[in-house]
């Protein structure tokens, strides 16, 4: 770790000294230390380690704020537990804000006075990012996105080759040699996006979503230049880097003149692109930004696709991605879809806006140094799944899917983990689609 110096301190403190951000100052001054947040946090619940209590994470940032920006903190820091920004507190901040927070926001919902704890954590991360202390493991994914246009550094040739391959899958699956995955087409209703792990390692969710678009007779396209739905700079909390990534998807939608930008199954991608991006790029979107979950629900409601409920008979449960559900308000559509697609749907307890994170949020999947913590906090999710008795777990988030797949092995759950599109696509029968498309 680079030792702290005056320039680094200045860069960090600037985040707390922004007059634009009255929200931050309010929330840094509001915690009453009631401790209700403790039992909402996966890290504290699974370890009983007091350092992990969300209020303690807020305290790290507010102690620095008091030391530099309040009269008593400046003159008599000991009286208000104000702390200097030094190497010790930086090490603590890295460990607790990056390494022990999934940014799930569950503590925020349970806070007695409504402190946006997750926002304070993000601002703490932003301080670290401005000071150059983003963990290398996380920064490597941000860097790949900045340098290559997608977070897995997939080349144009490799991408188009994979899409052609999935187009063949689609044609087989729909029994129609004319079924297509359109690329870079202008003036379509929908510009669809992907999580790069789909083309790289798990491409069947691409042909699944293409099958849904095909069945709904949607006018859609993918872009070969900008398809990455993720924005890992949201996790590192580096605003300039987050802006660069957010601007690209805006520009591409604008260039292709698509009416709707449809975000793939990716929790933080939805949060970052739909809710944070207008702040990053400081302008509103002139086109609609919706999620694939909402568009699939729309197709079913309008009768554009007709799922057959008799195909998937195994007991199926749903994992709610925090950034899609609690933090972005898409709550009912995925349930509506599953109730129309599977015979035996069961909820986890708790679910919806009170659901527990899978343990892989906040960029944790990329940070190998905190792997043991990530898998031990997942004990709660494993138990939730086990108690449902379900043999299929659906989650509309590729990041959650990866964590759930590891939970499946680590906690020997023996379940199948599926994306929502894969479930829906499996329930669309060829004969129904042929009638629809002729």
């Amino acid at each position: 770790m680079v030792k702290i110096n005056e320039d680094i301190i200045k860069a960090g403190l600037e985040v707390l000294n922004s007059h634009k951000d009255s929200k931050l100052i309010t929330h840094l001054n509001s915690c009453v230390h009631c401790g209700l947040c403790a039992k909402t946090c996966l890290y504290y619940l699974t370890s009983n380690d007091k350092r992990f209590i969300p209020a303690r994470k807020v305290e790290l940032v507010s102690a620095i704020y008091r030391r530099y920006f309040t009269f008593i903190g400046k003159t008599m820091p000991g009286l208000t537990n104000a702390r200097k920004l030094d190497d010790d507190i930086i090490a603590e901040m890295i460990d607790l804000l990056y390494g022990a927070c999934v940014m799930c926001g569950r503590c925020v919902k349970h806070c007695s006075i409504g402190v946006d704890i997750e926002y304070v954590v993000r601002k703490g991360r932003e301080m670290l990012a401005k000071m150059g202390y983003v963990p290398e493991s996380l920064q490597s994914t941000v860097k790949a996105a900045l340098e290559t246009g997608n977070n897995m550094a997939i080349s144009y040739e490799d991408f188009t080759d994979t899409i052609e391959w999935m187009e063949e899958e689609l044609q087989d699956d729909c029994d129609d040699p004319d079924a297509r995955i359109p690329l870079n087409e202008h003036g379509k209703n929908v510009l669809y996006t992907l999580n790069p792990r789909e083309p790289k390692f798990f491409p069947l969710s691409i042909s699944a979503m293409a099958k849904i678009f095909y069945a709904a007779k949607e006018s859609w396209t993918l872009s070969t230049y900008m398809y990455d739905v993720t924005n890992y700079a949201y996790f590192s909390s580096h605003p300039a880097e987050a802006k660069t990534i957010a601007q690209r998807i805006y520009d591409e939608t604008d260039k292709l003149k698509a009416k709707r930008l449809v975000l793939a199954e990716c929790g933080h991608g939805v949060r970052a692109n739909r809710w944070e991006a207008p702040n990053y790029i400081e302008k509103e979107f002139p086109f609609d930004v919706i999620t694939s979950v909402e568009i699939i629900a729309e197709y079913i409601k309008e009768g554009r696709i007709k799922p057959n409920k008799e195909i998937i008979t195994e007991k199926t449960t749903l994992h709610d991605p925090c950034n899609l559900v609690r933090n972005a308000g898409v709550i009912d559509d995925q349930r509506y879809i599953l109730k129309n697609c599977v015979k035996d749907f069961v909820e986890m307890v708790p679910y919806g806006t009170d659901n527990f994170c899978c343990g892989g949020g906040g960029g944790q999947l990329t940070m190998s140094e905190y792997n043991d913590r990530r898998l031990s906090i997942a004990e709660i999710k494993a138990e939730q799944i086990r108690k449902t008795g379900a043999s299929i777990v659906v989650s509309p988030c590729h990041n959650c899917i990866d964590q759930l797949s590891q939970i499946n092995v680590t906690y020997k759950l023996n379940v199948k983990i599926k994306t929502l599109a894969e479930i829906v696509a499996d329930t669309l029968l060829v004969e129904n689609m042929l009638n629809n498309n002729k």
Binding site: D161, T162, R197, P203, L365, T366, N371
Partner: protein
């Protein structure tokens, strides 16, 4: 530094169990990691996948697309998921001694 210990042999890895020094990878290490994942024996099909991944890593410094693995081995997508229950990234690439790929894996 975390370690994988199996059959009295010790291997230095990152927290995710990916090798931190991929250049010392050899067949014995592949067998070691595979056993750790519960794959009792690496078959010819496993090795076909591992060799494609290894070759791509040595030439391009990263894991190949699953498309290339299928093309070069003639295996179907689903067969690869079956061969490596932890998937192409956390399963196959780890056994092939690669460092952890970026992104949501």
């Amino acid at each position: 530094m975390p370690k994988i210990e199996i059959e009295d042999k010790v291997l230095e890895v990152d927290g995710n169990g990916f090798m931190t020094n991929p250049e010392i990878w050899d067949e014995e290490i592949a067998n070691l990691i595979a056993k750790y994942d519960g794959i009792t024996e690496l078959t010819d099909q496993h090795w076909a996948v591992i060799n494609v991944i290894r070759k791509n890593y040595e030439e391009k410094g990263m894991a190949p697309m699953i498309r290339q693995i299928c093309k070069a081995t003639g295996l179907k997508l689903r067969q690869i998921y079956e061969l490596f229950p932890l998937g192409p990234a956390r399963g196959a690439c780890r056994v092939a001694g690669l460092p952890k790929p970026d992104g949501c894996v």
